[in-house]
């Protein structure tokens, strides 16, 4: 397996295939998040609390994906001269979120299920979460770049704006449902 596939698999996987793989990833990540109490409450936030029902974890993950995809699709429609397929954006964005499974996977280990704040367990989980977050961000960037065929300033600025708007909307949804 070429290492470039780890951060940019979208030349080979896109469209319906990426959507199906991403949906499987979303369902598994959500189930593990629910079992371990790992909240992805925002695009970059993580919280550890076994405090709610499955539907809340599902809504958190679903809204993250839908908002970022919608904002990136809208950016693409406005800024790109190429023809953009909805399924490419939504599929590749969903696929990009698969690395987020790392934190709930670690929290399946009993040692990481309940721990003291500022303990080594906390830093260990957050450390791995940061790695998965950076990985996800690189994947999101490449997914956006390839699916919308954007370059240079247009690509970078619209990516940042889409991320910020998605973060705000996701937070609002989470506040409303809790």
């Amino acid at each position: 397996m070429r290492s470039s596939n780890l951060y940019n698999p979208f030349n080979r996987i896109a469209g319906f295939k990426s959507l199906i793989i991403g949906l499987v990833g979303l369902l598994i990540t959500t189930y593990l998040a629910f079992k371990t109490g790992t909240h992805f409450n925002g695009l970059i936030n993580i919280n550890f609390a076994k405090d709610s029902d499955y539907w809340l974890f599902f809504t958190e993950n679903l809204s993250n994906w839908l908002f970022i995809s919608t904002f990136m699709y809208t950016s693409g429609l406005i800024l790109s001269k190429s023809k953009i397929r909805v399924i490419d954006i939504f599929g590749t964005i969903l696929l990009s979120r698969i690395p987020l499974i790392i934190a709930p996977l670690i929290r399946l280990i009993p040692l990481f299920q309940s721990f003291v704040i500022q303990s080594w367990q906390m830093y260990f989980v957050i450390g791995f979460y940061l790695v998965s977050l950076i990985w996800t961000t690189i994947l999101l960037f490449n997914a956006f770049k390839i699916s919308c065929n954007l370059k240079n300033e247009r690509l970078i600025i619209s990516f940042i704006i889409s991320m910020i708007l998605s973060e705000i909307c996701t937070k609002l949804v989470i506040i409303l449902i809790t």
Partner: protein
Amino acid sequence: MKSITLIFGVCILCYLNSCSQDFKKLDDSEVDKNKVKIAQDFASNYLTKLKNGEVYKFQDEAIDAIKNQLTEENQKIVYQELKDKFGDFQSLEYAETWAQSSSKLQIIRFKGTFDKSNKKLEIRVVLNESDKIAGFWIRPWSDMLN
């Protein structure tokens, strides 16, 4: 270079771990069921009284600092704030017990259900070595003890 980085990393982890060594989560077999019952009865009675518009009358189940802090007026103010934000108290269920070795305090954590919130709240009761209430908090639940 790699081994120095590894040693440095292990030292940091050991230091961080030492900061939290004072607390230990008890296995179910180690948990004193009587202490859990004392804590559960207190928290449940306290919150039920306030939900019904009454106040909790302390006897000798708590230390003086708690009695002085949770005056009748304070009880009503704090419950009203809780009610505005999370709704009325519904129920609580036992979650876990932590022991602090240096002070022999036991931290007993319950998950509380409030009718306006989709999330459980933490109801924390701290018992001292004489099984008196030495702490009482209600806050959003976290799997991290702080």
